[in-house]
């Protein structure tokens, strides 16, 4: 297994992309663990290029109006709502 170093700044960059704040302690611990995990992933380099021919087909249905959740049910789990809409954080 090759040495694959990940530094805490790199972890912080990924965390920003993923919209997850981390504590200093998590950042340090993840840096060490990611080095080990990504080193293991390096073994994928040995995989030959393989023609995959997945039997995927688009599944379509007619675009017809039908019963669905009513507005109050759809909003029920939101912390904050206003005028029948979801309310996000206030932008300062």
């Amino acid at each position: 297994m090759s040495d694959f170093a990940v530094d805490p700044e790199e972890v912080e960059h990924i965390a920003e992309l993923a919209r997850v704040e981390l504590s200093d302690e998590e950042r340090e611990r993840f840096a060490g663990q990611f080095g080990e995990i990504l080193s293991a992933f390096e073994a994928l380099d040995e995989v030959p290029e393989t023609d995959s021919d997945p039997d995927l087909t688009n599944v379509m249905r007619p675009d017809e109006v039908r019963e669905s959740l009513d507005q109050s049910e759809a909003l029920r789990n939101a912390d904050e709502t206003e005028d029948g809409q979801f309310k996000g954080p206030r932008v300062s």
Binding site: V11, I14, A15, E16, L17, A18, R19, V20, E21, L22, S23, E26, F30, Q33, F34, E36, I37, L38, A40, F41, A43, L44, D45, E46, V47, P48, E49, T50, D51, S52, V59, R61, L69, E73, A74, R76, N77, A78, D79, E80, F86, K87, G88, P89, R90, V91, S92
Partner: protein, 425 residues
């Protein structure tokens, strides 16, 4: 209840009549139940109450089953021990002091403890089969597309299926019969009738293995504990005594299954879990200011460490400059694994291996070492990557620690697995 099996105990009555009218079923807490909170084992969804039922829950109720509660699980299905749950670990009723396996640990424990007759779990990389093996019960991971995922809170869509857990193969087959079949609300479901099968699963549990040709992939024995391997061969001998035969096969691609699985599952998870921003559901934390920063704070609070680890690694694997190196290579490995299974199953009726290469960890043993936990999935993850069905059947124990036998069949070959598995349990 000492084992911490349920996150929410409740009683949801089913129809008066039906094939499961006298049965109780425990349901994993990532499967939506209308009006009953569904947490995915996460603080993020601590008070989330789905406004609709998953298709499998509808089908349970139509079949007359009584649902006993929502079972503990690794947070969002991410774990092999049920210890990453925000609601605490579950003890193993079949081996107290040890983990029940994961991520459907509560469901397997419910069946093992007799808290429910049957249970539903979900299997993304082994999450039905691992806890089945560790808790000494039967678990089935269906062919991809056999069972609807509508109402299952997604972790890695291209890999996961809902599957039954039960004390016997026949009982698991009865539950599979109820939940299987196409659903217009899940475009990835397929009709087994169009793929050379029918849905008479329970009737297939006749234990007839006369003439059955079993392939044994050597790669899935290499890394296994010696005493697990001993139990495995004892089970093969038992099948041979009933008229089956075995030969060894080689699937070199399986050496890369764990890496390929984790790259694909983490990548899909990083996208699926983007929806948890605390606005439509989940914990918002009530932060104001920059949107990205307040979302990031809500997610820091709501997600546990393993979930953060997987979201970050998935984000990394999909990020500019690394996509070809990780995600694309993992898809190559997936296609290669599918080819290897096709070849092996053209020269054998089913393939057999230990379900888990190890016996259950002690509670707390693997929590600080993610790689150790990931490597335990070596024998189960290839099956999800190949979209195939598999069953785990209890085959004895090693000093009180249960060992499971995994049987893998061709797509929509559930009846073949049920027939063979029922020769043992």
């Amino acid at each position: 209840m000492a084992e911490n099996i349920y996150i929410t105990e409740t009683t949801i009555e089913g129809a008066d009549d039906g094939p499961l009218a006298d049965r109780t079923v425990a349901v994993k807490d990532n499967i939506s139940t209308e009006g009953v909170r569904t947490t995915c084992g996460s603080a993020m969804l601590d008070d989330y109450v789905p406004p609709y039922d998953a298709t499998v829950v509808d089908r349970l109720q139509t079949a007359g089953a009584t649902i006993t509660g929502k079972t503990n699980m690794d947070e969002f299905g991410m774990g092999t021990t049920t210890e990453t749950s925000a609601f605490g670990p579950t003890d193993n009723p079949a081996a107290p002091g040890y983990v029940p396996g994961g991520s459907s640990g509560g469901s397997a424990a419910a069946v093992a403890a007799g808290e429910a007759d049957l249970a539903l779990g979900t299997d993304t990389g082994g999450s039905v089969r691992c806890p089945a093996a560790f808790c000494d019960v039967v678990g089935i991971k269906p062919t991809y597309g056999l069972v609807s995922r509508y109402g299952l809170i997604a972790y890695a869509n291209s890999l996961e299926q809902v599957g039954p857990l039960a004390p016997t193969v026949e009982a698991a087959a009865e539950l599979l019969e109820v939940i299987a079949g196409p659903d217009e609300r899940d475009g990835t479901t397929r009709d087994a009738h169009e793929h050379g099968s029918d849905y008479e699963y329970a009737a297939a549990a006749d234990g007839d293995v006369e003439g059955l040709d079993i392939g044994v992939p050597t790669e899935l024995l290499d890394g296994a504990d010696e005493r697990v391997v001993e139990q495995f061969w004892a089970a093969i001998e038992e099948l041979e005594a009933q008229g089956a035969s075995h030969h060894e096969v080689s699937l070199p691609s399986l050496e890369h299954a764990v890496e390929a699985y984790y790259v694909i599952a983490m990548s899909e998870a990083s996208s699926n879990l983007a929806r948890f921003d605390g606005v439509r559901y989940g914990t918002s934390g009530g932060y104001d200011g920059n949107w990205n920063e307040s979302f990031a704070k809500a997610r820091e609070e709501g997600f546990g460490e393993e979930v953060k680890r997987r979201i970050l690694l998935g984000t990394y694997a999909l990020s500019a400059g690394y996509h070809d190196k990780y995600y694309k290579k993992a898809q190559d490995a997936r296609a290669w694994i599918q080819e290897d299974f096709d070849d092996a199953l053209s020269e054998a009726d089913i393939l057999a291996s230990p379900t888990m290469p190890i016996t259950p960890f002690e509670l707390g043993e693997s929590l600080d070492d993610p790689m150790k936990m990931y490597l335990a999935d070596a024998n189960t993850t290839p099956v999800n990557l190949a979209n195939l069905p598999a069953i785990s059947v209890p085959v004895g124990d090693d000093d009180g620690l249960p060992v499971g036998l995994q049987l893998v069949g061709p797509a929509f070959g559930e009846k073949r697995l049920i027939r063979a598995g029922s020769a043992l349990a």
